[in-house]
């Protein structure tokens, strides 16, 4: 049994196909959806997103967004989504170091929030990329 999944970011449509299963990093923990799920809506944080289509699993790093499930139509909007193979681990490491430096300097307000988000994103990227490369 499959359902239709769309994953969108401001830059592109990442996924637009029928899938069998999706697992997303919801704000209160990971949630998986199979087809014929009841209508559902929640906020997503930065984390790993797993999709199963044609019996194969795909791993994505997904950052901040929303998921809406309605009658076998699943829509995910997120600020950024990267396929595990697209992730540049070195760059993520650099971003992580940058964010940590900003947080250590104890700047206030907006920049702290930004740095926090950047730190979470970079950590997600590193985690997803490492996990996939280990599985191979």
């Amino acid at each position: 049994m499959a359902f239709h999944l769309q994953i969108l970011t401001p830059e592109r449509i990442v996924v637009d196909k029928n899938v069998e299963y999706i697992n997303v990093p919801a704000i209160e923990g990971f949630i998986g959806f199979l087809s014929n799920h009841s209508p559902f809506f929640t906020e997503l944080k930065s984390g790993e997103c797993v999709i199963k289509s044609d019996g194969k699993y795909c791993h994505y790093a997904l950052h901040e967004g929303y998921i809406s499930v309605y009658k076998n139509e699943v829509v995910v909007v997120a600020e950024a989504v990267e396929h595990a193979d697209e992730i540049d681990v070195e760059r993520a490491m650099r971003e992580k170091a940058n964010a940590e430096r900003v947080l250590a300097s104890k700047a206030k307000g907006l920049s702290t929030r930004r740095a926090q988000a950047a730190l979470e994103r970079s950590m997600t990227r590193i985690r997803v990329a490492r996990k996939v490369s280990r599985e191979r």
């Binding site: 209160e28 209508p39 929640t42 906020e43």
Partner: protein, 287 residues
């Protein structure tokens, strides 16, 4: 009459030709940038549409939720957010926006509370005319993106939360066609609530509760809307510049044609006159 006049005309023709080269180059730059931004804007559109749909679901039942971004207050203090360009030479693009804002300000009267401006042109105009500019974003020469939109939307939300504004109107140019785009006024905050035809919200399971969701959802939704507005405005700006520069080039060409005609006539007249002078003087000698 004589050499002086033809030389003057020649000089004029050279200078106008040089100007036409510049305007043509600027037209091509504007066209290239327009094409690029259109690509980004088109990629952004499905994302914005999905957000819009989700907003209808999430915000269709907000009874019991007190949020300054959602609940229409009396609207005593109205702020205006406007988008202009950072550069001129784009016809009436900037003046149209500024004019519309001026109209809105005079319509609001005492209820007008201040401006938040994107673009050097709007900022300098309103600063010069002593209108209260709360915040301005200038020299954003890069293409708009969601991060800039987030920053601007957050700044507006902060101003609302401080209580300086109760309501924010957005004035920007919506892109309709290459030829002429007119600016429009839109209610930005509180979020105007649209109704979905089929009320499917009752069936939804929200996690966390819809109340907590809404407080996070609205700022993000506003940032997405902000980003769409920035794209629309930038597309209109480049379209306007392209049209303005094409007109300028066409006008230059017409002037060159007219001047060349006049130059040739002058030259002819000068030669004819010279021949007459020579023949009359030689006849005078022969007599």
């Amino acid at each position: 009459m004589g050499r002086g006049k033809t030389r003057l005309l020649k000089k004029k023709i050279t200078s106008i030709t040089a100007t036409s080269h510049i305007t043509r180059a600027m037209e091509m730059v504007a066209r290239a940038r327009f094409n690029k931004i259109q690509k980004y804007a088109l990629a952004f559109r499905p994302y914005a549409e999905k957000y819009e749909e989700m907003a209808k679901d999430v915000l269709s039942d907000i009874s019991g939720i007190e949020d300054v971004l959602l609940n229409p207050t009396e609207g005593k203090k109205v702020g205006i957010f406007l988008i202009t360009g950072d550069m001129g030479l784009c016809g009436s693009y900037n003046t149209n926006v500024v004019q519309l804002v001026e109209n809105q300000i005079s319509k609001l009267g005492h209820n007008f509370a201040g401006l938040v401006v994107v673009g050097t042109k709007g900022t300098s105009y309103f600063k010069y005319h002593n209108v209260k500019v709360m915040k301005s974003y200038v020299r954003e020469y890069n293409y708009p993106n969601i991060n800039i939109a987030h920053a601007i939307a957050e700044a507006l939300i902060d101003i609302i939360k401080e209580g300086t504004f109760d309501r924010v109107l957005a004035v920007y140019t919506n892109f309709k066609s290459m030829l002429a785009n007119l600016p429009k006024v839109e209610q930005f905050i509180p979020v105007p609530l649209g109704k979905r035809k089929e009320m499917r919200v009752w069936e939804y399971e929200f996690e966390p509760s819809s109340r907590e969701l809404v407080s996070n959802f609205v700022p993000r939704y506003l940032a997405v809307k902000m980003c769409s507005m920035l794209y629309e405005a930038k597309m209109s700006e480049f379209a306007a510049r392209q049209t303005a520069m094409r007109n300028a080039t066409d006008n230059a060409m017409k002037m060159i044609k007219d001047l060349t005609l006049r130059y040739n006539k002058e030259r002819q007249a000068y030669i004819t006159q010279e021949i007459i002078e020579i023949t009359t003087s030689s006849e005078a000698i022969n007599k």
